[in-house]
């Protein structure tokens, strides 16, 4: 398991996303209300780029006329056929056991700490005083 520095924390405002490449893999990195969530940029159905998908929420209903719209912005919908994946788990909404996309653990680290750990920064000059998003691959 390697930890890759992929973005400055300030690069991706809440609600936005960035496509990054780690060891040849395209990974879609989302900022959901300050949480950085990372999934493989490849829909398991036919390979659509999930980084280009719409962010949606989840509607749950107990019965006709009552519904709750929650988890706003935590689910990505593939731009092609509309398959939906939970950004926190990579699992699809409709078939979580069999249809899922790889998700990656992320963290935010201060530049100063990185000099101590086994980090790999492929495209960044890391500065001591800034925060960075790190993906474990």
């Amino acid at each position: 398991m390697e930890r890759h520095v992929v973005a400055k924390a300030g690069d991706i405002p809440p609600g936005e996303r960035k496509l990054v490449t780690v060891r040849g893999r395209e990974i879609a990195l989302f900022n959901v209300d300050g949480d950085y969530l990372a999934i493989l940029n490849r829909c398991p159905h036919q390979g659509g780029s999930l980084c280009r998908g719409k962010l949606v929420g989840l509607v749950e209903a107990d019965g006709p006329g009552t519904y709750r719209y929650q988890r706003k912005g935590e689910i990505v919908r593939c731009p092609w056929h509309g398959w939906e994946f939970d950004l926190r788990t990579g699992k699809s909404y409709c078939d979580p056991a069999r249809t899922w996309v790889t998700s990656y653990a992320t963290s935010v680290e201060r530049g100063a700490h990185m000099q101590e750990g086994p980090f790999v920064a492929e495209t960044f000059e890391v500065k001591v005083e800034e925060d960075y998003v790190v993906i474990e691959v």
Partner: protein, 379 residues
């Protein structure tokens, strides 16, 4: 079970992220795509190809299909313009309207050797004002040549015909057929009368004479609903209903003996799925065997005739739980009858690298993705 939110733009593009599919190999073989939908950026693009009279008519009256929703769709599509959300071009260009973007995002990305264009909007087909419809069809044909085929020879045009006015349709075929930019003649599946009706035979005879296949794409502005049982409620029913509409058309072609009457006619059914074709062939054969005195002009088992005159596009791909079942269905239809289609830029696009089961093996894959098409289209 989710609601739409705004799609935020991608914030940054690092050098490493360039190339939409850096992590996937490009298909080795060139693809011949039997269904791609170009459109205009604005309706003004067809103005140079219309007379002043018809341009003014278009502005004042607009299209007149035989059903409602003249300015839109009878069913809400799954996505705006029914398109892949990543297919919008620069400056908000409608999917399939920007040549440079479409070249890169589609032709290059999927290694498309030839793309058979099927314009759907505007086309003038089946408009209630027949002369207007014919004028729009002609304009769209000239527009395809000028905008797409001239600068990019991988794009092949369809001769869009006003098929409810067969003499006008024949004139349009005669006007365009000599230009090698045209690979086929385009009709829609829901005609006023079933596809095999005598009314359309002169069109089919002309197609055979000029050596172009007739592509029949789903939809149609005849006023007939997509099902034989009325207008359904939901988009899902429209999507699944196309297969039924196509079956009615194919059964009509078979029982009218169209292919016996016009032995050189080639037809392609586009975007209706394909699994149904096997069962339809069995059913037609069974009834024909028992009641053939009703149709003495049908001289061979219908499925046999269809197997030598009819091709069918693969999109939207059938997706059974077990891939083996898909192989069986394809085999029943005939691997030589199937033509790869992407439906780019629409949302139900099939990616040629992933849609076909690998178990088909390289030879059959090559036949479906390009070899069969070479025998059908004029390329």
């Amino acid at each position: 079970m989710t609601l739409d939110e705004q799609t935020p733009p991608i914030t940054t593009e690092t050098p490493a992220s360039q190339g939409r599919r850096a992590s996937r190999p490009r298909p080795r073989l060139g693809i011949i795509d039997s269904d791609m939908h170009p459109t205009v950026r604005t309706i003004g693009e067809i103005k140079p190809f219309l007379s002043e009279r018809w341009w003014r008519y278009l502005q004042s009256y607009g299209p007149r299909p035989k059903h409602g929703f003249a300015q839109g769709d009878p069913y809400p599509k799954a996505a705006p313009r029914a398109a892949r959300r990543d297919a919008w071009g620069p400056n908000g260009a409608q999917p399939g309207s920007d040549l440079a973007f479409t070249r890169e995002h589609y032709l290059d990305a999927y290694n498309i050797e030839f793309s058979i264009m099927a314009p759907l909007q505007p086309t003038g087909q089946a408009d209630r004002n027949l002369d207007f419809g014919a004028a729009i069809s002609s304009a769209v044909n000239d527009w395809q040549r000028a905008k797409w085929c001239a600068p990019e020879p991988r794009f092949k045009a369809s001769i869009v015909i006003p098929y409810e006015d067969p003499p006008a349709a024949i004139r349009e075929i005669e006007r365009c057929a000599a230009d090698p930019a045209f690979a086929q003649i385009l009709m829609l599946a829901r005609t006023f009368e079933p596809l095999g009706a005598r009314k359309y035979w002169p069109i089919y005879e002309k197609a055979a004479e000029v050596g172009l296949p007739i592509g029949v794409h789903v939809f149609g502005y005849s006023g007939h609903p997509v099902t034989g049982a009325g207008w359904p409620s939901y988009y899902i029913e429209e999507m699944t209903g196309h297969a039924g509409a196509c079956q009615a058309g194919v059964a009509s072609l078979a029982m009218q003996g169209v292919f016996e009457r016009i032995p050189k006619l080639k037809m392609i059914i586009i975007e209706g799925g394909f699994a149904w074709l096997a069962a339809l062939g069995w059913r037609l054969d069974q009834h024909w065997a028992r009641h053939r005195d009703e149709v003495p002009h049908v001289t061979r088992p219908p499925s046999e005739t269809l197997r030598s005159h009819l091709w069918i596009s693969t999109q939207p791909m059938e997706e059974p739980e077990r891939a083996k079942q898909l192989l069986d269905v394809m085999g029943w239809i005939g691997f030589d009858r199937l033509l790869m289609a992407t439906d780019y830029p629409h949302w139900d696009f099939d990616d040629p690298s992933f849609a076909l089961p690998r178990a088909l093996g390289p030879e059959v894959q090559k036949a479906i993705t390009s070899g069969n098409a070479r025998g059908v289209y004029r390329l």
